[in-house]
């Protein structure tokens, strides 16, 4: 359902709206964004939830009580108990341990893809805005073309051609999800390109790359980060669909999408095996949406939720 294509005009308008704060470095711009995010309740919640998920994913192997792969023939679909607080699944594996570790692959793959999409997309988008001309037209046509492709089908074809590793999907995920980042960053860069401080820097005779890094990037970074957070949320959902279709994470690696699709048929008799991975996946996506929402309010976008769509 979720496709990486996104809406452009919102970002254009917003970049106008937010006024041109003159930031001097990407780092400062990032710190400022974080400060504003953490000043709103939804920002605090979103940041807290996402951070908690990331921390849990990192330290999960050290904190789980059971081996998430260990099968217990005597505890098949056992209800929650002191030994297995979240119950066990169809093969007698501990649902708590599996839920705790179930985000590792998904978060790693999607975060890596989102990061690549963010860096690559912003670089291309800003360059297109600054250079203009044929490069700009070609970039935009390409972005439009990729946006028009049924990306889920492509991912399926790719996963089928290179079975086994979910990380094989990273480049494809990054390319498909970078299209909206290219648009957003290009639009934002266009709106600052004509600003006085950029013109001033150019007049001072600074190199294009310096202008880009010093003057333009800090001023588009926030908008791009908002979009990146939404792309990430949408990628997490898409990734779980891939697992459901049998193309994402290979069993028995614990993965939320796989856990949900394996146990969904027995949810009438072992609801715990479905419920907990759903809660985990859902809260992480919700956290990312909240974070993006708070961030977009901070930069004056006002309408973050639409970014997740489609």
């Amino acid at each position: 359902m979720l496709e990486p294509a996104s809406i452009t005009d919102g970002a254009v308008g917003s970049a106008d709206q937010k006024g041109l704060n003159v930031n001097s470095s990407p780092k400062r711009s990032f710190q400022k964004l974080l400060r504003i995010i953490l000043s709103t309740p939804s920002g605090v919640v979103g940041f807290g939830v996402v951070a908690a998920h990331v921390v849990v994913a990192l330290i999960a192997p050290a904190i789980v009580l059971h081996d998430p792969l260990a099968q217990d023939p005597n505890q098949i679909m056992a209800a929650p108990s002191w030994t297995h607080p979240f119950g066990t699944d169809l093969l007698g594996r501990d649902v708590l341990s599996r839920t705790l570790e179930g985000g590792r692959v998904a978060i790693a793959v999607t975060a890596l893809s989102a990061l690549l999409a963010l860096i690559g997309g912003a670089a291309i988008g800003i360059t297109a805005a600054m250079r203009g001309g044929w490069f700009d037209s070609l970039t935009m046509r390409l972005v439009e073309s990729i946006g028009a492709l049924p990306y889920l089908l492509f991912l399926l074809v790719l996963a089928n051609a290179f079975p086994g590793s979910a990380f094989a999907l990273v480049p494809a995920l990054a390319i498909f999800y970078s299209t909206s980042i290219v648009r957003v960053s290009r639009a934002a860069a266009l709106s600052v390109a004509s600003a006085d401080f950029v013109t001033a820097a150019r007049v001072r005779g600074e190199k294009a790359i310096t202008v880009l890094l010093r003057e333009v990037l800090p001023n588009v970074l926030d908008v791009v980060l908002v979009d990146g957070a939404l792309r990430w949320a949408s990628m997490l959902l898409g990734f779980s669909s891939l697992s459901f279709l049998g193309f994402g994470v290979a069993p028995p690696t614990p993965d939320w999408g796989l856990m949900i699709s394996d146990a969904r048929n027995v949810m009438a008799i072992a609801p715990w095996a479905v419920f907990w991975p759903c809660v985990a996946l859902s809260t992480l996506i919700l956290g990312a949406i909240f974070l993006a929402d708070a961030a977009s309010k901070a930069v004056g976008l006002q309408r973050a939720p639409e970014g997740l769509n489609p």
């Binding site: 359902m1 979720l2 496709e3 294509a5 809406i7 452009t8 005009d9 919102g10 254009v12 046509r141 390409l142 439009e144 073309s145 990729i146 028009a148 492709l149 049924p150 990306y151 889920l152 089908l153 492509f154 399926l156 074809v157 790719l158 089928n160 051609a161 290179f162 639009a187 266009l190 949320a233 959902l237 779980s240 669909s241 459901f244 279709l245 999408g257 949900i260 699709s261 969904r264 048929n265 949810m267 009438a268 479905v274 759903c278 996946l281 859902s282 809260t283 996506i285 919700l286 949406i289 006002q302 309408r303 939720p305 639409e306 997740l308 769509n309 489609p310």
Partner: protein, 316 residues
Amino acid sequence: MTMLHALFSRVLSLFLVLCVCFFALETLPGDACTAFLDQDARDPELLQICRANLGIDQPILVRFGEWAEALMRGDLGTSLTRDRPVSEVIAPELRNTFLLALVSAIASVPLSIILGIIAATRPGSRLDMTLSAVFLIAMTLPEFIIATCMIFLFAISLQWFPAVTIVPTGAPVLDMLPNIVLPVVTLSLVMVAHTMQVVRSRVIGILESDFIEACWLRGFSYWRILFGHALPSALPPALNVIALSLASLLGGVVVIERVFNYPGLGTLTLQAIHDRDMPLVQGVVVVFTLTYTGLSLLADTISTLLDPRAGANNHA
């Protein structure tokens, strides 16, 4: 001028898409012969004969030429594993998927606009909060689990609708209808979840703008402002989002069709991908892409017609 320009750029993108589609799919390892031949796939001679029979032993550029030329004539080629023209294989499944998408669109587009307006006119109210909460949850859950819940609730507990589709692919539309209820409800729920928020924020944004402020000052009635001014300004951008959702809805059906055993394009694509039946996969991609392009062109046109101001920043 703008319209012509838009049309031209669409055609250009379409051409680019088709190139990407062809080359990306063709360069992947494995082909229909390695995937389909029995134990005999080890025999290089048999493999060669099979490839020659299917015409996939030609250089890639030659095949691209033939493929593109055939495409111009509206010919999608022949399915490698089904020995029938791709268009013929796709047609019944395409109808079923379009039926699913169409009914979902008919249900969800008005619903998301109406719910969006209702939520926007009472921002922060209990209704607004409830709607937001419900759809936010729907937005964060994978479709296949929403669909499974639908099946357990409406098909198994209440037995109102069939759980899975068991009517033939080519069944009359009327026979299809009861089977599409649960898939449509699932798809619509997800779609409304995504689009309602857009409509809501657009309408709120417009209602707070100077333009509406001016209307208030001029003493227009609430309803006139809402439907006469706020909505026409809020709709065009929302329509873009809706058109994109509709297009992505066509992609989302892969998951939904799998859950509901629905005989549509998604199911067919999964089979084709597994058979490495590239002409069939390419055919499906072409159909999806054309639909996407058509829908976004339609959304642009409607936006332009509804709001002339939108024309200017259409190509930002």
